[in-house]
């Protein structure tokens, strides 16, 4: 078994994941991802996932070994912010050609590493493996090892060819690379009893900075964020933290769990989205630090900050309440974020017309049920036509989703708000939740909706395409029923 497939099996065998542990041995080997359906698949590959997870390390040169597609079509397209180096936004690729396919690309890769180091002198080079060099057998581990020895600099192989699986697997493979080659290789200049790691936070739109001031105020130091706004050395010495928070569901659970095993760093799973979740996360951080020897007075200060910030956040949301009361929201997004924001939306007076549970675990669903009550609409998968029908038949006034489905709402002249990774607004922490409510209000109250819904001078009201889409003939309606949606009211 190659080292890559061994790593993948290891990742599939994640004991930290409750869902995984409920499976039989045989099922577990198959992995956690559904078999993709050719001609009906969407979503990124493992390489995409690995890049998302590691590119936020700002001072590293991220070198993609592959044909132009992998980097040329995708570089500088993610919204992770940096407070320092901008090297992570520079696109590096070997851009391999037919010659490399025939003769092998290892020498080419080695030369590329040399050029990067000579020109940019980064503290480390990360080399990402992609499908084509994986197929022709380029041994990037060996090349990285040779280059590291030759140039006296960490050169880290990331085994992430796209065809081994989806984005989520790529996140974990990226984590494995950090565990094998980076974490524990350097020592911090000093440590404190208040040092934590934040794992799985990418500082999209600067969201880490919505949280950091509160930690600063409490005297809690982010020793290392993996990987938002991180520097290479911070990740390398992250093994000296006293406690860790794992953000964003299960994407990097392997990193959190193995750091607990190897270095005795306890972790909890938390979220910065939503007022209650934010407070719980602060409490958990304080609790774990106190368990590890921090002064127990930390908890009192934490509670004081929580009380103050919650009051400010609710006060920030209150003015929107009269305008938003009774408005219905359709939340279509990956797992955790859905239920994290539900409480804030409800506090602003809004109702949840439905939420997606495609990526959510059973516990997530229980939480949704607890928050939204028994008549919660949990949507497994929605066809674009159904999304539109839900919006249009007044089941929802606004849709919150990722960029892919935005045009379903916009073309239907319905308000829409981006809550996925390419977005430009930061919604984390207390201020972030107020910002989210403000953005929803901005979208809903914009005067354009009334105008853009008017028929053209040559159309009559009720004869536009929207009306037609709603009055499907029986055949069409049957077809829509057959292809989905699968709406499930929780019993």
């Amino acid at each position: 078994m190659t080292s890559l497939s061994a790593t993948i099996q290891d990742v599939f065998n994640e004991p930290g994941c409750g869902k995984n542990q409920a499976k039989s041995e045989k099922e577990r080997k198959k992995g956690c991802t559904k078999q993709l359906q050719p001609g009906a698949a969407a979503g990124g590959c493992a390489f995409d996932g690995a890049k998302i997870a590691l590119q936020p390390i700002t001072d590293v040169a991220h070198l993609v070994h592959g044909p132009i597609a992998c980097e040329g079509n995708s570089w500088d397209n993610r919204g992770a912010y940096s407070s320092g180096s901008t090297l992570y936004r520079t696109g590096f690729t070997t851009d391999i050609t037919e010659n490399d396919i025939v003769f092998g690309g290892e020498k080419h890769l080695f030369k590329a590493i040399r050029e990067v180091i000579e020109k940019y002198d980064p503290p480390a080079v990360f080399v990402y493996q992609t499908c084509v060099p994986a197929m022709i057998g380029d041994d990037i581990e060996a090349v990285c090892k040779a280059a590291a020895a030759k140039f006296s600099k960490p050169v880290v192989p990331i085994q992430s060819p796209g065809f081994v699986g989806p984005k989520n697997l790529g996140n974990k493979l990226a984590g494995e690379a950090l565990l094998r080659h980076v974490i524990g290789t350097e020592e911090p200049p000093f440590t404190t009893p208040y040092d934590i790691n934040i794992i799985g936070e990418y500082n999209l739109a600067g969201e880490l900075w919505q949280v950091k001031p509160l930690l600063d105020e409490l005297g809690i130091r982010i020793l290392s964020c993996i990987s938002g706004d991180a520097k290479y050395r911070e990740v390398a010495w992250s093994h000296r933290a006293r406690a860790a928070m794992m953000v964003c569901s299960k994407a990097m659970i392997n990193v959190a769990r193995k750091m607990e095993e190897r270095y005795g760093i306890p972790f909890f799973e938390g979220s910065f989205y939503g007022i209650g979740d934010m407070s719980d996360s602060l409490r958990e951080i304080a609790r774990l630090l106190i368990e590890r020897g921090a002064d127990p007075e930390l908890m009192d200060r934490t509670e004081a900050v929580i009380a103050r910030e919650e009051a400010r956040a609710w006060a920030g949301i209150a003015p929107f309440k009269p305008r938003l009361t009774g408005k219905k929201v359709l939340l279509i997004t990956g797992g955790v974020k859905s239920w994290s924001v539900v409480a804030a939306l409800q506090e602003a007076g809004m109702e949840i017309a439905g939420t997606s549970v495609k990526k959510s675990t059973k516990e997530d669903k229980e939480k949704i049920k607890a928050l939204m009550g028994d008549d919660a609409h949990m949507i497994d998968d929605l066809t674009p036509r159904e999304m539109y029908r839900k919006l249009k038949s007044a089941e929802a006034d606004i849709m919150l989703s990722g960029g892919r489905s935005q045009f379903v709402a916009l073309k239907a002249a319905m308000p829409w708000l981006d809550i996925n990774q390419e977005r430009h607004y930061a919604y984390a922490g207390y201020q972030g939740m107020v910002a989210l409510v403000r953005e929803i209000d901005k979208a809903l109250s914009n005067p354009i909706w009334e105008q853009v819904r008017q028929p053209a001078p040559w159309e009559t009201l009720g004869d536009d395409w929207r009306a037609r889409a709603l009055s499907l003939d029986p055949d069409e309606a049957a077809a829509v029923r057959a292809e989905g949606p699968r709406l499930q009211a929780v019993a």
Binding site: L36, Q37, P38, G39, A40, A41, A42, G43, G44, C45, F47, D48, L63, G66, P67, I68, A69, C70, G72, N73, S74, W75, D76, N77, T86, R89, T90, G91, F92, T93, T94, D95, T97, E98, D100, I101, H108, K111, A112, E115, V116, K119, C131, V132, M135, G162, F163, V164, P166, P384, Y388, G403, R404, F407, V408, K411, E422, W465, R468, A469
Partner: protein, 457 residues
């Protein structure tokens, strides 16, 4: 004129180039009722899709055969078959356009062979056109993928005219290169229609990606050239090909149908558009419409007004060959100097670019050459270089993800050329430096030491 040089670096830094398969896929997006699909791992499609969504701000139909590691090694017949059947059932397209990728080309999948087998096994798919084009990622660039795809569309779909059939003198075929925006295509359609012609654009992104509100939900492309219309291209009187990249497709179409073609390497600038209008007058026997005459006058006036700003400026351009030629030549005609020219792939047209040399390279090369320039022109990825060099930055090409209206930027025709002058000259004026008491205290260090956006010439 220009010398062609290929960068000898092992590491491409800040790529200018994008890959062939998504160039091919975008060409398929100019066909009506089409579902383009990449035969490769799902990431190949996902990256292309995100890129186009960010550029056009439209829903993008693009599917994948979702090749796993095992499927890649064993061969992709089953994946291609399943994908076609799934798309046919779910999306009900008129045509499925398939582009290969680096993964499946390295394996050596014989997709033409697959399609024969699939045709035999699935007679129910007979009324769906299937066009396959080989576009390995590890060769050539976006523009080549587009060009190959259009050639394949012609070869696969166009009917040879029946003997003795008559050509319609009012109908023309227009083979449009990938440097034309939906807005460019609309502008040219207006021009041709003003001469009483009925043009069929292949591909026609104006029908599919111009941002219109569709009549209903359709998972395929919303508009563009229809398969039936393409089949009938042999009954047109003329073919107009725009951009040297369309030369191959034009030759192919002529060989198949006997329809003569005229190739226009570019349609930006006065002389280039005079050539087109003269040609249209010739083939229609009509005088130039009054609107066209007025627009020509306005372009001439814009050139007179704009040469103060543009003349003498040193410009750095990074673009695919045909766009580089169009913009570079026009600015050169306005008196600018193309001081740095970087492109993505080889093309005979590069010899005509009015620069000393054209480098097939990346944005790092362009940045290195643009240090003493007054203006940087490339796609949105140039924003980091422009910021570092403190240069005014004019975005052209694809992707353009940090500006609205990328699809409606018009740079062809008299009017498009006129507006391009205004846009560029305005940008230069905005970044111009005004004098202060110290400006003339010392002589400039060297004649070549130009300040960005330097004083009026």
């Amino acid at each position: 004129m220009a010398e062609r040089i290929r960068s000898s670096k092992a590491c491409t830094v800040n790529p200018l180039k994008m890959s062939q398969p998504i160039g091919g896929a975008l060409a398929f997006m100019g066909l009506r009722g089409c579902m383009p699909m990449l035969h490769g791992s799902q990431g190949c499609t996902s990256f292309g899709l995100v890129l186009f969504v960010r550029h056009f701000r439209e829903a993008i139909p693009l599917q994948t055969t979702a090749m796993s590691e095992v499927a890649t090694v064993l061969g992709g017949l089953e994946n291609v078959e399943q994908a076609i059947v799934n798309i046919a059932t779910r999306a009900k397209p008129e045509i499925i356009g398939i582009c290969s990728t680096g993964v499946t080309e390295t394996k050596g999948d014989d997709v033409d062979g697959f399609l024969k087998l699939i045709r035999e096994r699935h007679p129910e798919l007979d009324d769906i056109a299937l066009v396959y084009v080989s576009t390995p990622d590890f060769k050539d660039a976006f523009q080549d993928g587009w060009a190959k795809c259009v050639t394949r569309i012609v070869e696969e779909l166009v009917d040879a005219p029946a003997p003795g059939s008559v050509r319609d003198p009012a109908r023309i075929n227009v083979l449009a290169g990938c440097h034309l925006t939906p807005g460019d295509i609309d502008a040219l359609r207006d021009l041709f229609e003003a001469f009483g012609l009925d043009p069929l654009f292949v591909p026609d992104l104006a029908g599919s990606l111009d941002g219109h509100i569709p009549n209903d939900f359709t998972p395929t492309t919303l508009g563009g050239a229809g398969v039936e219309e393409i089949r009938a291209m042999g009954s047109a009187a003329w073919t107009i090909a725009i951009g040297r990249q369309m030369h191959g497709a034009a030759l192919s179409l002529e060989a198949r149908t006997g329809v003569p073609f005229r190739l226009f390497d570019r349609l930006t600038g006065l002389a280039a558009n005079d050539a087109l209008v003269r040609f249209l007058m010739d083939i229609t026997g009509r005088p130039a419409p009054r609107k066209v005459r007025r627009e020509r006058g306005q372009l001439v006036d814009a050139m007179l007004d704009g040469h103060f700003q543009i003349g003498g400026k040193r410009v750095a351009i990074g673009a695919e060959p045909d766009l580089l030629l169009a913009i570079g030549s026009f600015l050169h005609e306005m008196g600018a100097e193309i001081a740095a020219a970087v492109t993505t792939t080889d093309s005979p047209i590069l010899a005509d670019v009015p620069a000393e040399r054209v480098l097939i390279g990346d944005l790092e090369d362009l940045e290195a050459g643009a240090g003493d320039c007054d203006l940087l022109i490339t796609h949105s990825h140039g924003r980091q270089a422009a910021a570092r060099l403190h240069l005014p930055f004019f975005r052209m090409g694809l992707p353009m993800f940090d500006r609205l209206g990328a699809g409606h930027l018009v740079s062809v025709g008299y009017r498009g050329s006129r507006d391009l002058i205004f846009a560029i000259a305005n940008l230069l004026m905005e970044h111009g430096h005004s004098a202060d008491p110290e400006s003339w205290r010392e002589w400039p260090a060297a004649q070549a030491d130009h300040q960005p956006g330097g004083s009026l010439q």
